[in-house]
């Protein structure tokens, strides 16, 4: 029994995208166009989420602001290049199965490599600066530059084209609205990753332990938990996710550059701020909102599309200064 009412889960944020989509429909007029834009937006949202999820995880659980996250995205992309190059057979093959095989290989490899890189980051850069946001920003920024330059040194400065597997080319036609095949794939993967993350965080002791550790690592250790190892684990997972996101993003862009990671970072940051810095669900909604809005405004008033995401963020923060889902009372 309890005096204070059980904390209720709040569903309002989940309604936002739906409302936005509903409002957009009459403005756009043509239903087919609306479908195309909406599906495209959802897919884009998922890809952004895939790239952002790792960052928000690391921030939410460990209070570490990792500007180097972008590097993991780029690395993931380059790994995809390296893996898919020898697999041209599978990539060129018109059979979707072969394509999936190739992509799967790339994703796994990317997750592993960026995960490993993440381990190094945690060990040699982040560990000395837990709890000091500023130094985190600087040191991870430095790490980012180093990785980016290393990529230049290894793969050369020129952009590397990464053709989309044949099976994912083109669109499925629903009446008069075209839905790109690749986007469908992105949506499925995004949802899957989201589901997994949420279950792990809510259904296991892990989430608790790490949140406590962030607030007072000494005490968690005094309770007998080896918190450091856990932190490493989370960081590696976060980086791995970034790598995964990187692969998806690279395949979408169909070319790879060392800067591509940094280019999406501002967008990623906006999404996790909207979401409430650290909330996985919030980040998910944030990403979808940003992408949908970009598409709708892009169709209705292109000039606005340019700053639609920043506008969105400001509005959301005026409504909920902590973001959609406030995580912890942080300084």
């Amino acid at each position: 029994m309890s005096a204070l009412p059980k904390p209720k889960t709040d569903f309002i944020p989940w309604l936002l995208p739906i409302v936005v989509a509903a409002i957009a429909l009459p403005l756009i007029g043509s239903g087919s166009t609306w479908v195309t834009l909406t599906v495209a937006g959802l897919a884009m949202g998922m890809m952004i989420f895939l790239m952002a999820s790792g960052l928000t995880l690391v921030f939410g659980l460990m209070d570490v602001l990792n500007f180097g996250h972008g590097a993991f995205i780029s690395v993931g992309a380059y790994v995809a290049v390296a893996v898919l190059a020898p697999l041209t057979g599978l990539v060129q093959s018109p059979l979707i199965g072969d394509n999936l095989l190739a992509i799967l290989a790339a994703i796994i490899a990317a997750a592993l490599v960026s995960g490993g890189l993440g381990w190094a980051f945690e060990r040699y850069m982040v560990r000395p600066v837990y709890g000091q946001h500023l130094k985190q920003i600087l040191i991870t920024m430095g790490g980012f530059i180093v990785v980016e330059q290393a990529l230049h040194a290894i793969f050369g400065p020129t952009q590397i084209p990464l053709p989309l597997p044949q099976g994912f080319r083109g669109a499925i036609m629903l009446g008069d609205s075209a839905i790109e095949k690749y986007r469908v794939a992105a949506i499925i993967l995004g949802l899957a990753v989201f589901a997994v993350m949420v279950t792990v965080l809510t259904k296991t002791k892990l989430g608790l332990l790490i949140r406590a550790g962030v607030e007072n690592a000494e005490m968690v250790e005094a309770l007998g938990y080896r918190i450091r190892r856990l932190f490493v684990g989370v960081f590696v997972a976060g980086s791995g996710l970034a790598g995964l996101g990187g692969v998806m993003w690279a395949l979408y862009r169909e070319q790879v550059t060392a800067q591509m990671g940094m280019e999406v970072m501002v967008l990623v940051f906006i999404c996790i701020i909207i979401g409430g810095l650290g909330s996985v669900a919030g980040c998910f909604i944030g990403a979808v909102m940003v992408a949908l809005l970009a598409n709708y405004t892009g169709f209705l008033v292109p000039k606005v599309a340019l700053i639609s995401n920043i506008l969105l963020m400001v509005v959301i923060l005026l409504w909920r200064p902590q973001g959609l889902y406030a995580v912890a009372k942080r300084g």
Binding site: P161, Q255, N295, G298
Partner: protein
């Protein structure tokens, strides 16, 4: 009395433009070699190249140019990669009263309102790009829509394109400008399709885009269902890989190593392949070479490096390049040059879509307006 001729190259060797700058540097080197028959001497004066990295930053670029002229005593300077940086360099050349050959920055203002008499440009202006494309695509009864980035470069390009499209009898049905950093082109595509699908006759979308090309995304949205075709200008080789999925696409390009047929280009291609394990020269390598050859031609003709003599010599000067003959137009010192109308062929043996020559657009085929005030 042998003295040193100092040629300074300012280029964005680090940062986002690194790849382009590298090509320019190689090209310049080869250009000077070719023009001096490998001696790197003009008369009995030896050429010395001074390379400086402006990181694509305007402030750095102008500072470096000043250093080149003053500290290093450069006689003539070449550069730079970024338009912004190049524009910042122009007044420095005027202050030091030394010649600056702009290569490969494309901004129209360089030989337009920001021009001064010390400025020459071997690189093409974005106007030349646009006009050549207009001439290539434009025919009676064709309706065209454009997709460009929403900033100066994109808008200038389209307006030049529009102007040149007029005479061809084609009609510009719609202009779409997307935010510079757009990655999702669905919205733009939908707007363009809506605008074009009910137009009569041949329908073309001309894409002018710096960075990752939107073409594949447009293609995936299946414009064919409305009978809409895609068109765009040429680009560096890796950027033309997506063209492979667009066989038959037309446009006009500045350079593709297989197109120009002349001894300079033959030497250039074979030599480049020889030196860089069989990779052919690219856009900016050709540009660099042209600049090098222009410099040598100018100094030879002027019989020295005195700025006034150089300018006198260079105005209206014809010189050889991998793209054949170029001419520094007297009025604005812009190098007029051929462009190439191409049609893409997908050759399984080649990674990128091969732009096959449809016809060479000669200097006289394109009338490039003069925009500078003397």
């Amino acid at each position: 009395d042998a003295k040193e001729i100092k040629i300074a190259l300012i280029a964005g060797k680090t940062g986002t433009l690194e790849a382009y700058a590298k090509q320019t540097e190689i090209g310049l080197q080869m250009g000077l070699e070719y023009a001096t028959k490998g001696t790197m001497k003009i008369g009995n004066d030896t050429i010395k190249i001074i390379v400086k990295d402006d990181q694509g930053k305007p402030d750095l670029a102008s500072a470096l140019l000043a250093q080149a002229y003053e500290d290093d005593g450069a006689d003539i300077a070449i550069g730079t990669t970024s338009s912004g940086a190049a524009l910042a360099m122009l007044p420095v050349a005027e202050e030091y009263k030394k010649v600056l050959i702009v290569e490969p920055a494309v901004a129209d203002q360089i030989t337009g309102e920001k021009w001064n008499r010390y400025i020459f440009r071997t690189g093409r202006s974005s106007m030349q790009d646009a006009i050549s494309n207009a001439v290539a695509i434009g025919k009676q009864g064709v309706s065209v829509a454009t997709l460009a980035q929403d900033y100066a470069f994109g808008r200038d390009g389209v307006s030049a394109f529009k102007e040149a499209l007029g005479p061809t009898g084609a009609k510009l049905a719609f202009e779409e400008y997307a935010p510079q950093n757009t990655t999702d082109f669905t919205a733009s595509a939908q707007r363009i399709f809506d605008a074009l699908k009910d137009q009569p006759g041949k329908k073309v979308v001309w894409v002018l885009w710096a960075g990752a090309s939107p073409l594949p995304k447009l293609m995936d949205l299946n414009p064919g269902r409305y009978g809409i075709e895609l068109a765009t200008g040429g680009n560096i080789l890796p950027a033309m890989v997506p063209y492979k999925n667009l066989p038959g696409m037309e446009g006009a390009t500045y350079y593709y190593y297989e197109i120009p047929k002349n001894p300079v280009n033959d030497w250039f291609v074979t030599e480049h392949k020889k030196r860089f394990n069989n990779t052919p020269p690219d856009f900016f390598t050709a540009g660099g070479m042209s600049a090098g050859m222009a410099a040598v031609a100018a100094i030879t003709k002027a019989g020295g490096t005195d700025s006034e003599k150089l300018i006198a010599a260079m105005e209206g000067m014809e010189f050889e390049t991998p793209k054949g003959k170029m001419v520094f137009r007297k009025e604005d010192h812009q190098a007029l040059q051929s462009m190439y109308h191409f049609k893409v062929k997908a050759d399984p043996a080649v990674d990128w879509g091969v732009p096959e020559l449809v016809r060479e657009l000669k200097i006289e085929d394109m009338n490039v307006p003069i925009r500078n005030k003397r």
